[in-house]
Symmetry: C2
Subunit: 200 residues, 2 copies
């Protein structure tokens, strides 16, 4: 089956919005979505770009735009109290699952995003991420086992490789979607994505 590559950061509201829509859109056109969580700050630093939205005038604007975009698309959303969160535990867990229990990796990612953007939980927490992993599968072991796994060099390396691959693909934001080599940056490009899928 032909794929769609979907890059995002677990702390990105627009990435979350895309995560709620891209699966159904892909399915309508017989495509499967490959999810690629990254640490956006690391990607941008590697490319030589500044962190997004650090200027107060932009932060004030996009905080409004997050809520407006969610409402317009019928997506449940509230700005989490711990926004922006550190997302390395969530991203490492995703790639560990992707290796050992790939069928639960996307459900895990969706759960993390909703716990952050709907329930306001702190997804930087190693404990919370371990709990979400265990609620999906026992393939990585029990709570203590998962927590330990997330701190290993193997887990770090998987994420580092994923970030390096994203940089290689010229990803520079979240969400970032690549379809047959054509890049689409931003949740607001969903209609362009739909048109691309319809014509290819």
């Amino acid at each position: 089956m032909k794929v769609i590559d979907f890059y995002f950061d677990f702390s990105s509201p627009y990435g979350y919005f895309m995560s709620e829509k891209i699966g159904a859109t892909a399915k309508r056109y017989g495509r499967t979505v490959h999810w690629h969580p990254v640490l956006l700050f690391a990607v941008l630093r590697s490319v030589g770009l500044p962190p997004p939205f650090e200027h107060p005038i932009k932060l004030e604007y996009i905080t409004k735009d997050f809520a407006r975009s969610a409402k317009q698309s019928g997506i449940e959303y509230a700005l989490p109290p711990t926004f922006p969160a550190s997302t390395q535990n969530a991203a490492r867990a995703f790639y560990l699952l992707n290796e050992k229990a790939p069928q639960s990796a996307i459900a895990f990612a969706q759960s993390v995003l909703r716990k952050f953007f709907c329930d306001g939980l702190d997804i930087s927490s190693l404990e919370l991420i371990s709990q979400i992993v265990c609620s999906q599968t026992d393939a990585l072991g029990d709570l203590v086992g998962v927590s330990d796994l997330l701190k290993t060099q193997a887990a770090k390396s998987l994420l580092q490789n994923a970030i390096a691959q994203a940089v290689d693909k010229k990803v520079f934001g979240s969400p970032f979607v690549i379809i047959d080599g054509e890049p689409f940056f931003g949740f607001d490009r969903l209609m362009h994505i739909e048109q691309k899928l319809a014509s290819s």
Copy 2:
């Protein structure tokens, strides 16, 4: 009549795309559009933000996105050979017209945008801008008279005031639309603008 404030830079493709749509959208909701050309670089410098798209990875992406966005919206467009152009002459001429022949200011602006983004002419040219002014009205005098006027301190001051007002309104991009105090950044926010107008 209630207004919509529309800020843009004459050299901004997304600003041009919005200029082709905002008038009809406003009209459907009984609004009139106030056009505010600015020098985006001056606005951003004043706010403390870097120029847009200066990083090669972003420039490569948006160059593709310009064409895709135009096509998706049915707007005639080609990347001008002199992109990005210096737009101070065009913006000064707009504000001079706005004072002395306000009924021709918007038609002048539309003509400048189309000569740049459809015909590929160099809108940084004082002569071209003077010609476009004279093709719309003789309120600013003949070709030589208009060229002279564009170099006056009065013309510079009008534009400087407009830029200061845009900074004051927290404008940080092109196009930037403000409706009843609510800001909308980007051509891709046209649907949000439509929804705002429908509900207010």
